[in-house]
């Protein structure tokens, strides 16, 4: 498995056409801004340090004329620069918007992305049965194909932001908005929630996994299937632990009869890179710690204490490890 540490999260290493356009624009603004800053400071330093005649008159018309000329010229230059920046900015914005309008085709992957305190619900929409495939916290997308995200929230305002792919778009409760992303370079991209959403805003990360079309297809086919049935006694016992404890009230493992929808779908949890929406890496130790003390590594999250103890825990972990 690819190391989660490799999840990219930088505006400056764009991996999509939108992010490339924005990075160009940001570099332009930044470079011109740096030039203006240096120029202003240089003029200030020169004004302070220049040598002065001894008996300078206090209200010399010549001095005032030079001041007026300099301030006027600086003002004209500022205005021209702002106009130019405004124009370039408008063109970039229009370009991105037009690209959005153009790509809506049959080729488009459609995903409903729903924000919860503090995790991401992902529902792939498709025209054929089963019409919808649900997962959580890890969004897989095929390289080079436009992905239209329908952004919604079930509680407070969240914001989707994968810096390598595009800017932000808020998930506002009661609203449904569309946002287009695309990745041209394979990789794992971090998408931390970018609107303050309460106690665990810091640990609400979506991973976007961009992969070649064939491996995406394989992943998607697996994700559409129900959870594999237990093949050994211990994993079967783990399944019983899951169903007997409070787990199914909130979680779903498709194919077991559990149907909770207020917490992440666990049907293929073993295939995910991280736990608790980016709170920790998905290892057996971390998962065991999470179940034993849900408030430990992500205090304030909505998972209550449970009674999975003793030999139940290894059985449950063994079962969950089979949910690839």
């Amino acid at each position: 498995m690819q190391s989660p540490a490799a999840a990219a999260h930088s505006v400056l290493t764009p991996a999509s056409p939108h992010a490339v356009a924005i990075a160009h624009l940001a570099r332009l603004f930044f470079s011109l801004g740096a030039l203006v800053w240096l120029a202003v400071l240089a003029f200030l330093a020169w004004s302070l340090l220049r040598s002065r005649g001894l008996n300078q008159p206090t209200e010399d018309t010549h001095v005032v004329r030079r001041q007026t000329g300099a301030v006027g010229a600086a003002l004209a230059l500022t205005t021209i620069l702002l106009l130019a920046l405004g124009f370039v900015d408008y063109r970039t914005g229009r370009g991105i918007e037009k690209a959005h309008a153009r790509v809506l085709s049959a080729d488009t992957v459609r995903v409903q992305l729903i924000g919860h305190q503090w995790w991401w619900e992902i529902r792939y929409q498709q025209a054929t049965w089963p019409f919808q495939v649900t997962t959580a916290n890890e969004l897989h997308i095929p390289l080079g194909r436009p992905v239209v995200l329908t952004l919604e929230s079930r509680d407070v305002i969240h914001s989707f932001w994968a810096p390598n792919l595009h800017g932000k778009s808020d998930l506002v409760p009661g609203y449904s908005s569309q946002f287009l992303v695309q990745a041209d370079t394979p990789g794992v991209y971090a998408a931390p929630c970018a609107e303050f959403c309460g106690t665990q805003h810091a640990k609400m990360m979506l991973l976007v996994v961009a992969q070649p079309p064939d491996s995406f297809a394989a992943w998607y086919a697996n994700e559409s299937r129900d959870a594999p049935a237990p093949r050994s006694d211990s994993t079967d016992r783990g399944r019983q632990v899951f169903l007997a404890a409070a787990c199914p009230f909130c979680h779903t493992i498709r194919g077991t009869g559990s149907g909770g929808t207020v917490a992440p779908d666990l049907t293929h949890i073993a295939g995910r890179r991280m736990l608790g929406a980016g709170a920790a890496f998905n290892t057996r130790t971390e998962l065991g710690g999470w179940i034993e003390n849900p408030q430990g590594m992500k205090p304030g999250n909505r998972m209550p204490a449970n009674l999975v103890r003793g030999s139940d825990l290894p059985a449950l972990l063994a079962y969950l490890a089979t949910l690839k």
């Binding site: 505006v11 801004g33 203006v36 800053w37 001041q67 914005g93 810091a202």
Partner: protein, 626 residues
Amino acid sequence: MTGLATAERDALARTWGTPRGIAGFFTTVDHKRIGLRFIGTALCFLALGGALALMMRTQLARPDNHLLSPQLYNQFFTTHGTTMMFLFAVPVMMGLGIYLVPLMIGTRNVVFPRLVAYAYWVYLFGGIFLYSGLLLGNGPPAGWFSYTPLSETPFDPTKGSDIWAQMITFTEIAMLGVAVTLIITILKQRAPGMSLNRMPLFVWSILVTSFMVVFAMTTIAVASTLFLAADRLINTRFFVQQSGGDPVLWQHLFWMFGHPEVYIIFLPATGIISHLVATFSRRPVFGYTAIVFSTIATGIISFGVWVHHMFAVGMPELGLSFFTASSLIVTIPTAIQLFCWIATLWSGRPQWRVPLLFILGFFFILVRGGLTGVMLASVPVDLQLHDTFFVVGHLHDVLIGGAVFPLLGGLIYWYPKFSGRMASETAGKWAFALIFIGQNLTFFPMHILGLHGMPRRTYTYLASTGWGGLNFLETIGAYILAAGVLVTVANLILSAFYGRSAGNDPWAADTLEWATMSPPPPGNFAALPVVESRDPLWDPGGSEERPIVVGLPPDRREVLFTSALDAIPVRRIPLPGPTIWTFFCAVGTAIGLVMLIFTPWGLVVGTALAIPPLIIWAWPKAGGSA
């Protein structure tokens, strides 16, 4: 000095004086005492807000740190932002206005001294209220912007957001009282001859700022006091989507206040800079008219840029373009002011004193902050940088560089007037160096972190993000910055005892506050001045030749009202004296407002407790003084 003049001075001191001791403490209506109280209290809140910031920086110094719980961290950053905006920045600037405006325009007190006294108590109680909540473990957890629905009851069932919303009410009442008083004082009490085009630039900036307070504070009053508090207290659901309300409405209302708020803090700072630049280059400021118009233009345009805080909410492209344009345009008046100050320094002879150093620091940091602000005006760029540490860096550049540096320069500059003594030059230089290095070390790396994807308002981060190094550097910077503020505070306190005696006009400055003693006597001036130019103290001829107003009786609290445009004397106006009822009225207001977060009956109780003292305070006295 003749015996008659001395007798008149004594009479003035008796008439305008404050009772001694504890009685005077609660009853004073002297704008100088109230102004210094505002400044001192605001500096205390700066220290508290700074302490919270240090704890947050310590938490973020390394990844996966467990110093602060997420709940505490969220309460701390909310209280930090709320403190700095509502309890430090605006009150300190308005307090400086209350202290300086009457001295700069040559009058004896502000027009509603009791209202200002009342405003101070309400402000103080509001601040204590917020920190009581925090100390009781119930600080506001939803951010200084309190976005709905996160700040609504289902997501914050504690009293935290109630305390936040009600603290805003306290500040609104206080700041509206101060703003109205300053507007009328400035328009009606200027010295004869001080037509609007001769008014000192600091007074101009306070006039524009006060008008902005009136409009902006009204918006937040509607949003916070009426809608949010009512949503939480009596379930009105203005912002609850399921009931037909709209959470985005809150954002519009909040930023319609919130962006002008930034300029409410910045414009007084520009006023301070104009005075410091003039005094320390020994030249009148170049482009007086341009600076005045820039100040007014900034005030107006700042009400039209609020949506640039909301680009990510999702709106039609054309609407967003409008706000990009206005956000780019608002930089032009500020640029004009910057160019005029540089032109002034160019033409003059710079005096390398501590206040000038702070002005240079202002240029270094504010210009950087302004340019990163231009980046954020661009919709596509903003969609990347919004709500990242880039914005944290930007806003602290603008607010610390743009407002705190000029403020500290201004406090050192007017310190001799406040105290009669000079602040230490050596300590001032050390403080400047520490604050300058600390600010840059803390806030510049934040821009880089933002570009590398670090979101704001996160209490921790994973080691694998690689953000640890820069965060550690920032934390060191924050402690250096805090050390600089401590040196400044120590300087301000110790110099009051050990400083060199200042005299009336230690900087050889040009405006009227330097024409009187340091500190000024209770009635400010022995004789009210008459003004014939923009720089009355730089007019040829010494202090003996300056024209004065005669005919105001020294044994009555009376000031001269002049016409709004040309400052032609119109009539004498009696001003009220010390009273305890403003304090009681403020106590009644505070009890009512605090009760109101628990029960609507607070409104009844508050009214019952606050109205009788108000009637007594405003009851006309024989002789016409109210």
